[in-house]
């Protein structure tokens, strides 16, 4: 299955992966009870997406909060995307951070430094309300 549409829960983000739009969006909060159980299917869907012959993907992360085990899983997901990009896929990643959340910004900056083939930008998250 190369497409995904998961609704957000109180502890997990909304996830949508669309072949038609060539877009992956992860939005909300992430501190799931079973981190691997949540993120593994997302990585598998991304693998299927590229296995089906898609060559480009834009990825957006709008995470208000994520815990340390989610950070680990997100790194694994990004490493997997980096692997696809190294194989020739054109992948852009936009990471939205709250302007006063320096720790999340540092996470995104470190990811950007680690990745050679992903095109990563960091943008300000607009706060609702």
């Amino acid at each position: 299955m190369a497409e995904l549409n998961l609704s957000a829960t109180s502890r997990t983000p909304a996830v949508s992966l669309s072949k038609a739009a060539s877009h992956l969006k992860i939005e909300g909060e992430s501190y799931p009870e079973d981190v691997n159980g949540f993120y593994r299917p997302i990585m598998q869907a991304v693998d299927h997406y590229f296995a089906d012959g898609k060559e480009s993907l834009t990825v957006e992360f709008h995470l208000i909060y994520f815990n340390s085990s989610s950070a680990r899983a997100l790194t694994e997901l990004l490493d997997s995307l980096e692997g696809h990009a190294a194989n020739g896929a054109s992948i852009t990643v936009k990471w939205f951070c709250d302007h006063d959340d320096d720790i999340t910004r540092e996470f995104a900056e470190d990811i950007a430094m680690d990745m050679e083939h992903l095109k990563i930008t960091i943008a300000d998250m607009t706060r609702d309300g």
Binding site: N67, T75, D101
Partner: protein, 241 residues
């Protein structure tokens, strides 16, 4: 889950008001410190673990007046599961919004809370709590959030073996020597390492707590029954200056 007591207590204590009817055997202590936390936490632990749920009015009064001294945001003592983490976390968020304005401060306090609670879930299976039907013990611990002027203090406590307590103390001391840049680098390295329970380095959760705390992490421990120690950790998050 008999014996799990949800003690969600909070609300603003008006420190300028005197309560003439409250008898306190201790002098009014303005600063909340680890021994106070210990007193209230041991009281809470005793209440929960005793099979007979009789709370004499004297003890209840002592317990209550301790809570009225300081600006308690939330306290929880009892079994700690993922469901409880979620429920207490949701309550904490509401309480934090009542107490402070800074979204950054709220975010950091909530992050520390989640990491501390998840540590209790993982490592808090020792202690005086009774075994369940399968002969296992559910994780048990205490968490408390207190407002101190501009700062929010977060404390947690659970029972662990002496060896584990020493390891944890060393890890905290290790992290407290690091600059924010070094902590960032340590965190970045740990992200790609598998989470090993008995690894020598500090866990990624502990590094996260250290990064989000405005002060170096404080910890202390007290001997408990069966060779266990009650291990307490304190972090603090400053508001906007």
């Amino acid at each position: 889950m008999a014996g799990a007591m949800l003690a969600l207590l909070g609300g603003k204590a008006k420190s300028s008001q005197k309560h003439p009817n409250i008898y306190t055997p201790y002098p009014l202590i303005k600063d909340f410190n680890l021994s106070e936390f210990l007193i209230s936490s041991i009281l809470a632990a005793c209440f929960i673990c005793s099979r007979v749920f009789l709370m004499e009015f004297d003890r209840f009064h002592q317990f209550g007046s301790l809570l009225l001294h300081d600006d308690f945001v939330l306290s929880y003592s009892g079994y700690v599961t993922e469901d409880i983490l979620e429920a207490v976390g949701a309550t904490l968020r509401q309480r934090l919004a009542d107490h402070v304005d800074s979204p950054r401060q709220i975010r950091n306090v909530f992050s520390i809370f989640v990491e501390l609670m998840q540590n209790v879930i993982r490592y808090g299976t020792d202690g005086p709590q009774p075994e369940n039907e399968c002969g296992n013990k559910e994780s048990f611990g205490l968490v408390m959030v207190v407002q101190k002027g501009n700062c929010l203090d977060i404390m947690s406590g659970n029972f662990i073996a002496q060896d584990d307590a020493e390891i944890l103390r060393e890890r905290i001391a290790f992290l407290n020597q690091k600059t924010p840049t070094e902590l960032r680098s340590l965190y970045r390295t740990r992200l790609r390492q598998p989470p090993e329970v008995n690894s020598k380095g500090a866990s990624i959760g502990l590094i996260e707590i250290a990064r989000r705390s405005s002060i170096p992490l404080q910890c202390d421990m007290r001997p408990a029954d069966d060779g266990l120690y009650f291990f307490m950790v304190k972090a603090s998050v400053q508001g906007a200056s």
